[in-house]
Symmetry: D2
């Protein structure tokens, strides 16, 4: 394994290659292969970007056909057949069946692009500047998006520019079971001296990914929607990680039967891992003037092609939804068993999640890190999240085979037991 | 041509489809084809993203081989063979031969990502917050990048968050020929009551693309470098549009024989139009802590593969540089002739540019718009830039055939004559 | 009463003259006289600026003697005998007896000056930028101070500059009796992804004046101090309104036996109503470089003279403290009786306060406004506070005679009864 | 001279007591007396606050009478007889005779209060956020005012909060004689990509005091007014230091016959050195809602009384104006002679100013500091200004006797000669 060029050239900012210090060469479905020929089951899946696994043949086929026909790879925001196909497929496969009426903005290839466009639109549409975000929320690291992101590691890396234009509220369950976090938010809203500037919008993940697989309850989401309506605040659901089927529905907010004013998607939107993002907005909010938000890669044709193929392959019926449901329960059961075992060892642990976005909270970042390191040695790529890295999270492909899923869970279980033994010694 | 879905679904933010209201379906080299089978010569080339033309066979071949082997499409910042190949090729094909010693940060797929990472690094490395940008500069529209961008259309679309942390200085020639714009900057720097907070960095385009093909002279760039060294200010060259050979050298700053502390690349970096960007930095500036700047698509393998192929195909010798030089002169001559003709019509016009980044300033955005509209009717995709859209710009592929280049220039000439006739009537 | 010149010349920003539409001509002790010769008992006392009443003879005498000797009226930050006397008196009368060791910064004549200097010092001393303020806090309206102030009326009047560098936490009791507001703050501090940037300082009023006479309990203040120590956060007590004896101690924080790192005083500091303010700071925090914070009126000699006289007249023994205690209890009893009566009328009302900083919360700004208007008609100047103006507050001079205090309370009682009668009708 | 208490208690922020390390005890007209009985001629005059000298008998008399009658010392923004007298006197003595129609806002006692109120009003009235200030401008140090102030010493003392909402333009003459600084501003305004956000207002001192006695020419001021009108930008003249007769007219802008939209006054407004400030605004700009800008000391009756007396004593005819003119010329002649002598010594020096706001630029802060130190030893209080402290400035009382003026100038001359001798040695 030759890594000298990485040592010489690559910025210290690199992070995953520290957890997984091998050179990967190929990948298929839920498996990664490194240069030595070792295979790894992938429970990270591009941090939620590869919901349909690596190199899914149907998506790849669509891409190859498009390339064969010299399709438009890069088209700015010109009209292309690829974009038309994508919009039509989105409309008829996803939006119409869900009774959603949205206009679409393709602001550029990253989730942060979508978040920046969404909050800017909310400000333009309301004439207010404040955006409410939630504890442990993660919405990207460009300056506009970063202001909505709770993590100090990123926030302190702005180089001395204080982030502005956002206020943080406690997420569902943040103050313990039964705490009324929205009651606090409601009080601040109704008190004109609370210090909370009346927000343009609330931006929320229904399940916080980077924040530690924190699940907002259906009741909380519905109450949040009501509170927004009551105060004329726009509701933005950032569905970049939880969307595209991850929780068992195409949009994660379908579980709560709410209708956000604005939705952001990215990560698994292109299906094959190509950079792509979108903003969906209620038509009357589309206050943009031509060209007011731009970006060189907002017309990446290849991503539109694979995104279209993904919608057609997986979202014409509810097979995938049922699969996610079934596999999610399976992961939950296993993790609950692991949590119970940990509790038996005197380690407070618990399982949580929705669909195939699941986490095992082991209460301690050091232990969680030991578990994922051990798992990697045993052939499982899996990562932690949460404010202290204390949550081992499962973001396996939704299309993972039962065998791989089970094999991965078994590696996880073994790794936990081994890590706890070592942990106790340490 | 079916466009109903665009009318229904697409945000009003769309802009190029207003200038070129057809549905494009395919593209090869310097030509675009629409749904009706019409062909267009492309003098826009993805706003500088397609320096090697559409679907260049060598780059596409590399991509197809990678896909055939189930290469890693999306790898976060893990180590992959594709990334190793890219770094090695960059080092041995580009940096070493130019005696440049840089570390590399791949911050995500967009130029704005690179700009945000670059200015943040400059702030972290210096402990200062101010960034100096220049009149008519364009560096992207995410909040951090937008603060460096001069254009009010974008700046006013933040929804009420004033942009902060930047100061604007006049670009070379901004105050007329012979004006000493750096003398003004130098005076503000040396005057502790000037209101200019001592900058962390200067960010500059050596040739401003969106700003109107404004060319900084070699002397000005050298003086700027000296001024930065003198005051301990980092020099960032934003080579997103002018880099990758556009001006006749791989890096646009090679013309001035200066060595920036930090360089940003994107647009044509992947060669085939795939989203990709990088930050190059002097090794001692690499103050990043692991993971302090992240982004889901910072490990887009396909772009690394085509970027590697592009370096290998075009940058192993100086053939392309000479081609750009030769074709650039050709465009310049034609445009100078057009300018002379316009002057003869009483319209102040002039040509400017470096390499194949060239503009014809017709002094009037309405006239320029008329010219590009007429050109499109005649089969040429070409756009305007500049603060009033007064500059017709040529950003044709560097690899364009002489026939297509000539044909495009002839359409431009005819369009100018026709537009002036109509313009006079109006 | 001639008011034409006011109508013509005075900005619409005026406010107290709307509540008290007469022209005042003279004042003595707790009484104001208007142009028609009507006398008013003053329960407003310059919003807490006239703790020793109007034109107290001892303070006035000191002023007259100083003027007679052509003392320095305006001395910038030069050394003057008046400043020396003030510093010595402060040290030996106030600080030493309380075992407080502070350095003194006289930053200018207003409370906002003191707050701006205090928070800036905290930022300089810690290298952090965030300041935590509390719901319903009021700390002034210059841009730096306003960022710490909760009231939307002021916050929205910046003309589109979002306030930055502060985060708001819930004040003691904000979420109802028994709620653990500091537990929430503690959780945000210990969670690195909470969105709360680690603060340089907390700024707090021990009794919030403008916010509605909200009293922080001794236990809460002590816990706040511990929390600050634990996280290396500086504790600033803004004692501008609650200090100078208002709560029954010279410093309001003496009740809790805590030691702030920084203290701000103003309002009653000069004793006679002259503009004056100070920042007290632990000596090791004095990071100022010469002249880094300035202001034309930071050496207002007349205020130093009356401030010295006030300390000498009232703070050489504990007589005044006992008086405040005694009168405060008297006001409390009366207000509790009024609250009970209101409760009997079906109006939820309650009394609160500390020393002679007391409020009667009638739950409704319209009713409170009716009460104070009626009181004015009957000869009592009294105002409301609180986020909805729902609290009738008593800030009478600490030196008020028992007769005037009783007379004022009786007017208040009658006004309440009359207002409720009218209120019920309305 | 006892200064131990200063050493122990006073913040390091102190500055003038470093230049003048004596304890002052009394002052009359243009003379200060220290504790040892030494007299000093005062060419600093409270940094422009004591235009009528120390303890002027007419002003003091008015103050004593008011105190004798137990006038309202502190009245918030209630109506008082003192305020009515002030407004009427201002209207009939100052505004009417000059054909000025302004409404008045008394925002609090400091100049920074007036500046904060003025720029906020401009933002509210225009809906724009940017304020243009000028190189070497000084407008106060509260966060809002500081953003308009050029001096890095203050700007860097915010503790890491970048100042926002302002852009700096070059002042008249900043780029050398004959440079067209407003041409630069005009170009930025008319170029929509210049990076200059369209301003709400321009704030300007007609003669910059702290910035180095930089005098804007009449032509420049008139052109600035035209430029503002043309672009719908409000013109704010900050007349805090240059107003109240300092330049030979009550308002400094009278020399240019321009009519600002908003004017700020403070410093010498109260006449006797009492804290006082005002904002004058065209009536239609008075967009304030009741109470949107407040401050405890906005109704300081004593200052209104002395301000009224000052207007009545000095501004009922043009005697003072003529005196300032005459004495100003005298100072100018002397300083020109000194400059000529310095030039003869090989030291580039020059004189500049308007009325009795005059400076001798000796090109070097160290030399200027040496001169003022020597002057102090010889009995003259005089200070430097300018970005490098290179300008010895004369701000003597406008009412100074010819003998004191001459004596002061002679000390200055001797000090220069002595300092140059020492300077040459060093």
């Amino acid at each position: 394994m030759q890594t000298a060029i990485f040592d010489k050239m690559e910025s210290e900012v690199r992070t995953y290659s520290r957890s997984f210090p091998v050179v990967f060469t190929a990948a298929r479905e839920a498996r990664l292969t490194d240069e030595q020929g070792h295979e790894y089951i992938d429970f990270l899946a591009g941090a939620g970007t590869l919901n349909y696994g690596h190199n899914h043949p149907a998506l790849k086929q669509a891409l190859l056909e498009y390339l064969a026909g010299d399709g438009i790879v890069h088209g700015l925001d010109m009209w292309t057949r690829a974009k038309r196909d994508y919009l039509e497929t989105l409309e008829y496969t996803i939006l119409k069946p869900r009774n959603l009426e949205y206009k679409v903005h393709l602001p550029g290839p990253t989730g942060a692009n979508a978040v920046e466009a969404a909050i800017r639109l909310a400000r333009l549409a309301t004439g207010r500047h404040n955006i409410v975000s939630f504890t442990n929320g993660f919405h990207g690291v460009t300056m506009g998006a970063l202001a909505c992101t709770g993590n100090r590691k990123f926030r302190e890396a702005t180089g001395g520019i204080p982030l502005q234009g956002t206020s943080f509220m406690p997420f569902d369950g943040y103050l313990g079971d039964g705490s009324d976090t929205l009651g606090y938010f409601a009080k601040l809203l109704s008190d004109a001296s609370s210090g909370l500037d009346l927000p343009a919008a609330v931006i929320v993940e229904t399940v916080q990914g980077e924040g530690g697989i924190n699940v907002a309850s259906v009741a909380w989401l519905q109450q949040l929607e009501r509170l927004c309506r009551q105060h004329g605040i726009l509701l933005i659901v950032d569905d970049i990680q939880a969307g595209c089927g991850r929780t068992g529905k195409f949009f994660s907010f379908e579980h709560a039967a709410i209708t956000p004013d604005i939705v952001t998607n990215s990560k698994s939107l292109s299906g094959l891992g190509l950079p792509f993002s979108q903003v969906l907005m209620r038509p009357e909010l589309d206050q943009w003037k031509p060209g007011q938000y731009n970006g060189t890669f907002r017309g990446f044709g290849l991503a539109m092609v694979t995104a279209t193929a993904a919608l057609r392959t997986f979202w014409r019926d509810n097979t995938l939804e049922q699969e996610v449901q079934r596999k999610g329960e399976r992961v939950a059961e296993h993790m609950q068993r692991m949590a119970a075992w940990l509790n038996g060892q005197g380690i407070a642990a618990s399982e949580r999640g929705r669909g195939l976005m699941r986490g095992l909270d082991v209460g301690d970042g050091a232990l969680a890190g030991r578990i994922t390191s051990e798992a990697f040695r045993q052939g499982l790529v899996i990562e932690t999240s949460g404010h202290a890295g204390q949550v081992v999270k499962c973001l396996c492909p939704l299309t993972i085979s039962d065998d791989d899923l089970l094999a991965g869970l078994e590696i996880l279980e073994v790794s936990i037991k081994k890590s706890v033994a070592l942990h106790s010694v340490a």
